[in-house]
């Protein structure tokens, strides 16, 4: 979808090229984050794709066409563009701002109106905002309008330069979640620049970690970058908590569950005690025909002959195969016996997760 080949940018009066022979393939429908320290050329690279910055040499192909041979104005109208400071037109109402590109490309009034309605519903914008001016909106509202405006003519490619950088962390997280949800149905090809590795991990299908001069240190899915950083630079950039960060990208089903202590309600108390002793957690799950009923411990079984004589207690928390390891870890460390029970659909008992099992994944 987007392919950069040997792209170099030298700015005048600068001895080192800002971007030096960068080659990169970006797959259609994916979010690719360019991330790196300041001066790594990530924004320069982004702006070369819509020719706000002209490459010194190299080739950039978008949708099968070499962009350096296209009219830059036409090219930019076909590519959505969102910047950190949003850049809404202060003298235009929100509605007029959203209509900007459709008007530039000459859509008729009816089509524009219909599209604005669509965008209002996609972005869940308050219709009362439409006749207002940007200065009357909060930072978070402006960011959403900025993204809606960039999507107005439904461009297949979007360039986003720290689009959620100017809002506070709580609003940022909500905007990121909203955007991921919208992207999951729109499937745009998105080049996303950020200096925040956590944002990159959250937002992207693939991460490109850049060093000075646009040197690619690693280009891989987020999980892989956290699991096996290519080199010292990536390890440093990703930071000390990379094991923990990775936990949110790996699901319980990825690492599989462990066998846990299980008895059926028809088991005798002695048999249940044997199972409890064998696993050493001090309790056992009670499972009837695949269904988890709860747990019992030795004390509860003290005066009973069979498991069905006591009422099994409910687990306070459990995880599902789709849960992230981060959530599983949370359940494990907050349980008294450091074990999380894994349930499938409809209370279906699958097994357990222990701290030991999860930490194997962290250390890897």
């Amino acid at each position: 979808m987007i392919s950069l080949t040997d792209v170099t940018k030298r700015f005048p009066h600068s001895s080192q090229p800002a971007v030096d022979r960068l080659s990169l393939e970006i797959e259609a429908g994916k979010v690719v984050c360019l991330v790196g320290p300041s001066g790594c050329g990530k924004t320069t690279t982004l702006k070369m794709i819509n020719r706000l910055i002209e490459p010194t040499s190299g080739s950039i192909v978008v949708n099968g066409a070499e962009i350096l041979r296209q009219d830059p104005v036409k090219l930019r109208r076909d590519i959505g563009y969102v910047i950190q400071s949003v850049g809404l037109m202060p003298h235009r109402t929100i509605e007029q701002n959203i209509e900007t590109v459709p008007r530039l490309v000459g859509w008729d009034q009816a089509r524009i109106r219909k599209r604005v309605d669509e965008l209002v519903s996609i972005f869940d914008l308050d219709r009362d905002l439409l006749p207002r001016y940007p200065a009357e909106l909060s930072g978070g509202q402006r960011q959403r309008v900025g993204v809606a405006r960039a999507l107005a003519v439904d461009p297949p490619v979007m360039l986003m330069d720290e689009p959620f950088g100017a809002v506070d962390p709580i609003v940022r997280e909500r905007l990121q979640d909203e955007f991921l949800e919208i992207q999951s149905s729109l499937k745009k090809t998105i080049v996303f620049v950020t200096h925040d590795i956590d944002e990159a991990i959250k937002m992207s299908d693939r991460i490109v970690i850049l060093n000075q001069g646009g040197k690619i240190e690693q280009h891989a899915p987020p999980e892989e970058i956290l699991r096996s950083p290519a080199n010292e630079f990536v390890m440093q950039f990703v930071g000390a908590e990379r094991g923990l960060k990775r936990l949110s990208l790996v699901s319980v089903s990825d690492i599989g569950v462990e066998e846990g202590p299980v008895v059926s309600p028809s088991a005798s108390a002695d048999e249940a005690k044997r199972v409890i002793d064998e696993f050493g957690f001090g309790w056992t799950s009670v499972v009837d025909d695949g269904q988890l009923l709860g747990w019992v411990d030795e004390e509860m079984l003290h005066d009973a002959a069979g498991v069905d004589e006591v009422k099994a207690r409910k687990f306070a928390a459990f995880v599902t195969p789709d849960s992230s390891l981060r959530k599983a870890l949370d359940s494990v460390v907050s349980s008294r016996t450091q074990v999380a029970v894994v349930l499938g659909d409809g209370q279906n008992y699958l097994g357990i997760l222990t701290l030991e099992h999860i930490s194997k994944e962290i250390i890897h």
């Binding site: 104005v73 563009y81 850049g87 202060p90 207002r132 909060s138 930072g139 509202q141």
Partner: protein
Amino acid sequence: MILAQGEPLLEWDWIVRHSSQIFERFLQHAELTAIAVGIGLLISFPVAVFAYRHRWLIGPVTWFTGLLYTIPSLALFAFLVPYTGLSTTTAEIGLVSYTLLILIRNIVAGLDGVPADTREAAIGMGYTKRQLLWKVELPLALPVMVAGIRIASVTTIGLVTVTALIGQGGLGYFILLGLRRFFSTPIIAGTILSVAFAMTVDAALLIGQRALTPWVRRKSPGLAS
């Protein structure tokens, strides 16, 4: 002192008798002002836009128009009369010269005040250079530009009175007349009308600017996001 002994400061009688002449001179005053500011804008606008795009020009342009601005008006008119006579042309050359510095500076300042992110977003969305200027930069520069037009207009209205010395002058005619005859009534009438005219034009331009730029005053902290 200009006052002759025993005469009242203002003779209403004289004003009533000369009302049609006063009106005529007022129209001349308005015309001289409008032409001066109009031609001033016609010159300043392209020069300012050009200098804004070729920034090295801003220095020389400001220097030259600043030089024009410092020439005493009397001297300028005296210098021009041998070439263009006691004419409207002479008056306008002087009046226009004095508007240029203020207008060019304010137009450039207005364009400079356009937020860089707005400009970048506009180019990134596919505005041509011309569309950027007319649809983004100029509307956003309007408040500062109008501020310049207001100062230029008020200055010009005051300066028009001086052109009475070369047979023009609008309301300045009465000021000069009064000075020559030691007669206070036309001086006071001419001055008050000139000041009132300047204040009216200033207010009208401000109202016009506010009507054209509704976004400037509509700022609130915003709704909860």
